[in-house]
């Protein structure tokens, strides 16, 4: 299973295994991790699952136009590695992701 390490605003970290086809957003909710809201359920509509993807950017397709436009309006400032975590679904079994969770989503 792919693993995701969520790095929080206070510097703490948590690593979880992600079942196949589960997004990084869903993984956070499933494991009661703070800082990711995912209000719209993963349809690129709310912008409340913003993360900074620390590496493995090449693993994912670049943001769609919709995601790109939503990222302009996230509560925490956008950076070059900003993504909506509902759109990040790792498929390689051994993938190891690190995402930083911003201090606010709403």
């Amino acid at each position: 299973m792919p693993t995701v390490t969520y790095v929080f605003d206070d510097g703490s970290k948590q690593t979880v295994e992600l079942p196949v086809a589960m997004s990084v957003m869903r993984g956070a909710l499933a494991n009661q991790l703070p800082g990711i809201v995912g209000e719209c359920g993963g349809s690129t509509t709310c912008g409340t699952c913003h993360v900074y993807l620390d590496r493995s950017t090449e693993m994912f397709a670049p943001p769609t136009d919709d995601e790109d436009e939503m990222l302009e309006w996230t509560a925490a400032p956008r950076a070059g590695n900003s993504r909506l975590s509902c759109q990040l679904v790792p498929t390689q079994p051994g993938a190891e992701l690190v995402v930083r969770v911003p201090d606010k989503q709403v």
Partner: protein
């Protein structure tokens, strides 16, 4: 679900029980009229949390339904003669499809969509249906029409109003949505009422309109709005009027009981009017708010409502509801535009079609102070420019 998760997330350590009315784990409802109707969608739906969550977070999930609330004893009776006591009770009972008082609606092949089981049944029926009639051109009806036509089913939508989505959006958006559906082969019959569902051998075979037109169908879907599920509250003697009445902190007439989501009637922060909303954002925002309030939050609930709907390849996003306006300004063009609704010289609501940037800007603007028309004019009604400027100044 959202209240329970937020309570645990913010450190509440006491007992916590969710009483649900269905056999499934609590799940996302928005996909039911969208992706869930497509082939290959998971029959378990999209659970809000995996089963493991309930163990890990120590949240009991009781398959109900809840049948009675005894407010004196602070007890909820659950189906199967079980009961559970409470210090605080949150009513999140939602809404149910409005039934049409129409001859023939009891025939087999007449259906509504609310639950995952409804969606699974509808998907099965769509797999073999040749033509369907959807009664009602609201969000759910039109989303079902989209899904059906995509599956190669002939679709006719019958709507008593002169335009689609008339309860929810302004005319420019209705026009764009109607054109999109028509271009994809959906037959729209607007301004026409159904007289009866006709059938043979107990099974629906079509809809007869008030003008005597027969629309043949092997499946009839009712999408004529929802009514609040407030029976439990009414029987418990809570104040109920088109939903469970709540004050600005979402408390019912009993201080130990809150109501949230589709079933609750609450004051609107922008207009001050009393309002019941049917949207996921409203449900989750209110759910999180009540959790915070139970843990000591003193401020009243205040969130600008927003909605979205996928209509074929059109992505509709709305901030606030344009029930009343005295001027409309359309920005953008073609398949990508926004409608600014103005009331008394101020921005009241914004509807966007394939224009997520303007939608997000509008949410940010309306969440702070409501822009005046003068401010809007100064930026040529470009909400993104205004929101950037406001953010930079803050």
């Amino acid at each position: 679900m959202e209240t329970a998760a937020a309570l645990r997330g913010h450190g509440y350590a006491g007992p916590l029980t969710i009483v649900g009315g269905e056999a499934h784990l609590p799940y996302e409802r928005p996909p039911l009229s969208k992706g869930q109707l497509e082939d290959g969608a998971d029959a378990a739906g999209t659970p809000l949390r995996p089963e493991q969550f309930f163990t890990d977070a120590d949240v009991a999930l009781l398959r109900g339904p809840a049948v009675e609330v005894d407010r004196l004893r602070q007890i909820v009776y659950v189906g199967g003669e079980r009961w559970i006591g409470y210090d605080h009770l949150v009513l999140a009972t939602g809404s149910r499809p409005r039934r049409l008082d129409l001859p023939g609606v009891a025939l087999r092949g007449v259906t509504t969509l609310r639950t995952l089981d409804d969606a699974l049944a509808l998907r099965r029926q769509l797999a073999t249906a040749r033509r369907i009639v959807v009664l009602g051109a609201g969000f759910i009806g039109m989303e079902i029409a989209s899904a059906a036509v995509k599956r190669g089913v002939e679709v006719t939508v019958l709507e008593v109003n002169e335009r689609v989505l008339s309860r929810s959006v302004t005319t420019p958006v209705s026009t764009a949505v109607a054109a999109h559906h028509r271009a994809h082969g959906v037959q729209l019959c607007l301004g026409e009422r159904a007289a009866r569902v006709v059938g043979r051998d107990g099974r629906a075979t079509g809809v007869l309109t008030e003008w005597g037109r027969l629309l043949p169908a092997d499946l009839v879907v009712l999408g004529v709005g929802a009514v609040p599920e407030d029976d439990l509250a009414r029987r418990a003697g809570l104040a109920v009027d088109g939903g469970v009445l709540v004050d600005r902190s979402l408390t019912t007439s009993d201080p130990l009981i809150s109501a949230i989501g589709d079933c609750a009637v609450v004051g609107d922060p922008v207009t001050g009017a009393r309002r019941r909303l049917e949207s996921i954002q409203n449900a989750t925002d209110q759910g999180r708010y009540v959790a915070a309030r139970i843990l000591g939050e003193l401020r009243p609930y205040r969130a600008v409502p927003w909605f979205w709907s996928n209509q074929g390849s059109l992505k509709l996003q709305m901030v606030s509801l344009a029930r009343e306006y005295d001027d409309l300004v359309v920005t953008g063009d073609g398949d990508r535009f926004s409608v600014l609704c103005l009331l008394n010289g101020r921005l009241a609501a914004v509807e966007s079609v394939n224009d997520p940037g303007t939608h997000m800007a509008a949410r940010r603007l309306l969440g702070r102070s409501v822009p005046t028309e003068t401010e809007l004019l100064a930026v040529g009604y470009d909400l993104r420019a205004l929101a950037r400027r406001t953010t930079a100044a803050a």
